[in-house]
Amino acid sequence: MSAVVPGARRALVLPRWRPGAVPALIAAIVLALLLLAALWPSLIAPGSPTATDARAGTLPPDSAHWFGTDRSGRDVFTRVVHGAGASLGLGLGATGLALVAGGLLGALAGLAPRRVDGVLARAVDVLMALPEFLVALLLIAILGPGTGSVLVAVALAAVPAYARVARVRTQQLARSAFVESALVLGQRPWKRVLRHVLPNLLGPLLTMAALGLGTAIVSAAGLGFLGLGATPPAPEWGVLLSEGRNLLGTAWWVAVFPGAAITVSVVCASVLGRWLGGRR
C-alpha cells in the first residue's frame, strides 16, 4: 500500500537489537518453527495425522511416539504438527481479516460526517461491552458450525477493537499538520486519505494485531473445543484437546500436548507482539 512513492518506507520498522530482546528472539524462533509446521507439516512429521493403528492405542510418550498415541493409535505428535496449519491459520486469518475490516470501518467513521460517525462509534461501543468470545459464539449460532464460520466469527468479534483505535487515529491524522500541508498543496481528499492517512494508520494497527493474534488463536481453538469448528478426525488443536479431555485420568498426553501447543503459541505471539508494540 505504501510502496507507491519512492522513498516512502515501511510503516513497521524493526527495533534496534538490545540484550533485553532475548525473550522476543526466542519467541520469534518458536513461532517460526510453528509456522514451518503450519506450512509444511510433513517435513517435521512425515506420517499421516489420521492413520490409525489398533495395536498401538493409548501408548505413553516414547522414542517412537514422542507425544504418545491416542485411543485409535494415532500419533499425537503428528496430529499436533498437522494441526498447526488449521489453528495458526485460523488465528492469523481472523486477525488479518479483523485488521482490514476494523481499520477500514474505523477510518470511515473517523472521516465521516459527525452524525454517521456517531452511529458507527456507538455501535462499536455496544459491541465492545460484550466479551469477544461471547460475540464469536453468537455469530457461530447465526452462521452455523464449521471452519469458515469460526474464521468469520473470531474476526468479526475482534473488529470493534480495531475500529475504535483506527477511528481515533484517523481523526488525529486528518487534523494533523502534514495532512493540512497536503491540502495546501491542492491535493484531493481521497488522495490525502490514501497517501497520508491510511499508511500512517497501519503502524498502530499492526502493533495491535501482533498482540491480538494470541487471543484469536485461543478463541479459534476454544470454538473447536466446543465442537463448533473443524469436524473431529481433522487435527485442529481445539478438537484434539476435546478428544483428550475424557482420557485425562488414564492418558494425560492426549490432551496435554495439544494444550501446550496452544499455550506456547499464544505466549510467543504475546511476547513478540509486546516487544514490537513497545518499540520507540
Binding site: 491542492g186 491535493q187 484531493r188 499508511p199
Partner: protein, 520 residues
C-alpha cells in the same frame, strides 16, 4: 553540614572541572563556574551546547555520571552526595526554575500549595506563602489553579515556589523563552529585584537581550565546554571565541535594522503602485464566545514582506489561516489576486491552491513522518502538475534554491536539524511557484544563528522572485530584519499598520509603544 561561619565567607557556587558523560559521549568537558551572593551569571550558547545539562548538574538532576574536582554549593561539598542529601540541598540552598511553567506545575494543585511545598519538605513555617506570592506580584492568587493563570503568571508562581524556602542560589533555565515580550520584561525585572536582594542567579538562556539586562557576567558554552567568560558589557561588545562571536552577531539587530529601515523608506512611495496579491476585508472569526479575529483589513503586495506582529493568543495565527482559506470566516472576505478566495468551497479553489503556500510553525509536524525529503518534494511537484520525468531535476534545483544539500533529501525529516527542516518546508512551498508565502512563526523554534539564515533566505526569495510574504511572529526582531510593512495585532484587532520604519520609530498606538519598550 558546615558551620555558619564558613558559610558566610563561602561563595554561592564554586565549580571546577564539571564533567558529564552519557553512553560514553562526553557532554560536559570540564566546566568551571564561580558565583557570589547577589550576582547573576548568564550561561549562553546554541542548543546542544550543554547549558541545560550544566544547570541540572548543579542540582544533582543531570542524567548519567557527573564528575567534578570541585562542586561547592553555598560551602557544602556536593560531589559525593547521595539522593537523600541532595534533597536537603534542593529548594533550601539551590532551586530551579524550569523553562516550561505549564508542565512544571501540577494542574490539580492550587498555586498556594505549590509554593508551600518546599516549605513543607524542609519543615519550615508555612506563613510565608502569601508574602512570597505578593513578592512575585501574584497577591491573593494562592487559591488559583495553574490553568487560571497566564503564561507569565505561571512563570512567576514557579519562581515563587523556587524561592519559598529561601535558597541562596536560583538556577533559571530559559525562564522567559516561552513568554511574550512584555511579559518577559516583567519576569526579568523580578529576577533583577531578587538579585538586588542577595540571591545568586544562574540564568541559562539563548536570549542575549535578556542576558544583557540582568547578568553581571556571561559564560559562553560550546560543545560542552566553557569557551569564554567575562563581564556582560565587555563580552557582548567584543567577543573573542568564534562561538561567542557567532552568538553575538546573530543577536545583533542594528546593522540589518538600519538597511531594512532605509530600504522600507525608499520603497514606501513605490509600494502603493505594486499589485495587490492578497487582501483581507473585514475578516471575523469567532470560536464559541471568544472572538479570535475582530474585523481585520489587510493588504499584501507583490515583492513585499508584511510582518503580522502580536503576542500569543492575539489571533494572528487565526488571521493567517483565514487568509489561507484553512479556516472559514464568520464575516468578511479574503481575496487572492482580487478574486474571491476564502468564500469559495475547497473544490473550486483547489486549482489555485498552488498560488498561496504555507510554512508552518512546526516544520517536523508538517511532514508525513514516513517520507524522505525527496518524496515530500516529489509529491509537492506532482500536485503542482510537474510530470514525473521532470521531477528529479526540479527536486534538485528546489533544494539548491533554499541552500539545502541535496544529499540530505534521502533522509526523513526526523533525521534533519531544525534549520534543515525549515529549508525543506520552504522548498516544498516553492514547488508550485507561488505568489504568496504565509510563514507562521518560521524561526521561533530555531537557534539565533540559524534564525538569521532562514530570514535571509525568505528575504532573498522576496527579492529574486517578487514573492509576497506574510510573516506571522511575536518577535519584533523578525519584523525589524525582513519586514517592509507591519501590522500589529492585539486581542483580535489590528491596532496599527504601516511601513516598518514608521511604525517602529514613531509608533502611534500605545500597545505598539509597549511592545517596543519591552523589546529594547
Amino acid at each position: 553540614m558546615s558551620a555558619a561561619g564558613t558559610e558566610v565567607a563561602a561563595p554561592a557556587l564554586h565549580v571546577r572541572g564539571l564533567r558529564l558523560a552519557i553512553d560514553g559521549v562526553e557532554l560536559l568537558r570540564g566546566v568551571d563556574l564561580d558565583l557570589a551572593a547577589g550576582e547573576c551569571l548568564a550561561v549562553v550558547g546554541a542548543s546542544g551546547s550543554g547549558k541545560t545539562l550544566t544547570a541540572r548538574a548543579l542540582l544533582g538532576l543531570a542524567p548519567g555520571r557527573v564528575g567534578a574536582s570541585a562542586l561547592q554549593i553555598g560551602g557544602t561539598d556536593a560531589r559525593r552526595l547521595g539522593e537523600r542529601a541532595w534533597r536537603r540541598l534542593r529548594g533550601r540552598r539551590i532551586a530551579l526554575v524550569n523553562q516550561d511553567a505549564l508542565s512544571a506545575l501540577d494542574p490539580l494543585r492550587r498555586i498556594g500549595s505549590e509554593v508551600a511545598e518546599p516549605l513543607r519538605i524542609h519543615h519550615l513555617a508555612l506563613d510565608g506563602v502569601h508574602a512570597m506570592l505578593a513578592r512575585v506580584q501574584l497577591p491573593g492568587r494562592s487559591r488559583s489553579y495553574p490553568h487560571e493563570l497566564s503564561g507569565g503568571q505561571r512563570q512567576r508562581a514557579l519562581i515563587a515556589s523556587a524561592l519559598a524556602a529561601g535558597p541562596d542560589v536560583l538556577v533559571a533555565d530559559e525562564p522567559t523563552t516561552a513568554l511574550d515580550a512584555t511579559v518577559q520584561a516583567r519576569i526579568l525585572e523580578l529576577l533583577a529585584e531578587l538579585k538586588a536582594g542577595g540571591t545568586a542567579i544562574v540564568l541559562v538562556s539563548h536570549d542575549l537581550g535578556a542576558v544583557a539586562r540582568i547578568a553581571d557576567r556571561v559564560a559562553v558554552m560550546h560543545e560542552g565546554e566553557l569557551v569564554e567568560q567575562g563581564p556582560t558589557a565587555a563580552l557582548l561588545a567584543a567577543p573573542v571565541h568564534p562561538a561567542a562571536v557567532a552568538l553575538v552577531e546573530a543577536a545583533h539587530p542594528s546593522p540589518v535594522r538600519d538597511s531594512a529601515a532605509t530600504g522600507a523608506e525608499t520603497q514606501r512611495d513605490a509600494s502603493s503602485s505594486r499589485p495587490i496579491v492578497l487582501e483581507g476585508r473585514g475578516l471575523v472569526k469567532r470560536f464559541g464566545a471568544t472572538t479570535a479575529v475582530a474585523g481585520a483589513d489587510l493588504v499584501l503586495r507583490r515583492g513585499e514582506v508584511l510582518g503580522l506582529l502580536g503576542e500569543s493568543g492575539s489571533g494572528k495565527t487565526t488571521l493567517a489561516r483565514l487568509l489561507l482559506g484553512l479556516e472559514r470566516a464568520d464575516a468578511g472576505d479574503a481575496l487572492l489576486h482580487g478574486e474571491p478566495w476564502s468564500a469559495l468551497p475547497e473544490r473550486s479553489r483547489r486549482e489555485r491552491r498552488g498560488r498561496i503556500q504555507l510554512i508552518g510553525q512546526d516544520p517536523l509536524a508538517s511532514f508525513d513522518p514516513r517520507w524522505t525529503g525527496r518524496a515530500i518534494l516529489g509529491e509537492a511537484l506532482a500536485e503542482a502538475g510537474v510530470v514525473r520525468g521532470g521531477r528529479a531535476d526540479r527536486i534538485r534545483s528546489l533544494a539548491v534554491d533554499v541552500s539545502l544539500d541535496p544529499a540530505l533529501l534521502e533522509r526523513r525529516p526526523r533525521e534533519l536539524s531544525g534549520g534543515q527542516r525549515q529549508r525543506l518546508a520552504i522548498a516544498r512551498a516553492l514547488a508550485s511557484e507561488p505568489d504568496v508565502l504565509v510563514a507562521d512563526e518560521p524561526v521561533s523554534a530555531l537557534d539565533a544563528a540559524v534564525r538569521g539564515t532562514i530570514l535571509d533566505l525568505l528575504d532573498r526569495l522576496r527579492r529574486e522572485r517578487g514573492l509576497a510574504v506574510l510573516v506571522v511572529t511575536h518577535d519584533l526582531e523578525v519584523v525589524r530584519r525582513i519586514g517592509d510593512t507591519v501590522a500589529v495585532m492585539r486581542a483580535g484587532e489590528l491596532v496599527e499598520q504601516g511601513p516598518v520604519a514608521r511604525v517602529l520609530l514613531e509608533p502611534e498606538h500605545p500597545f505598539t509603544r509597549e511592545l517596543l519598550a519591552a523589546a529594547t
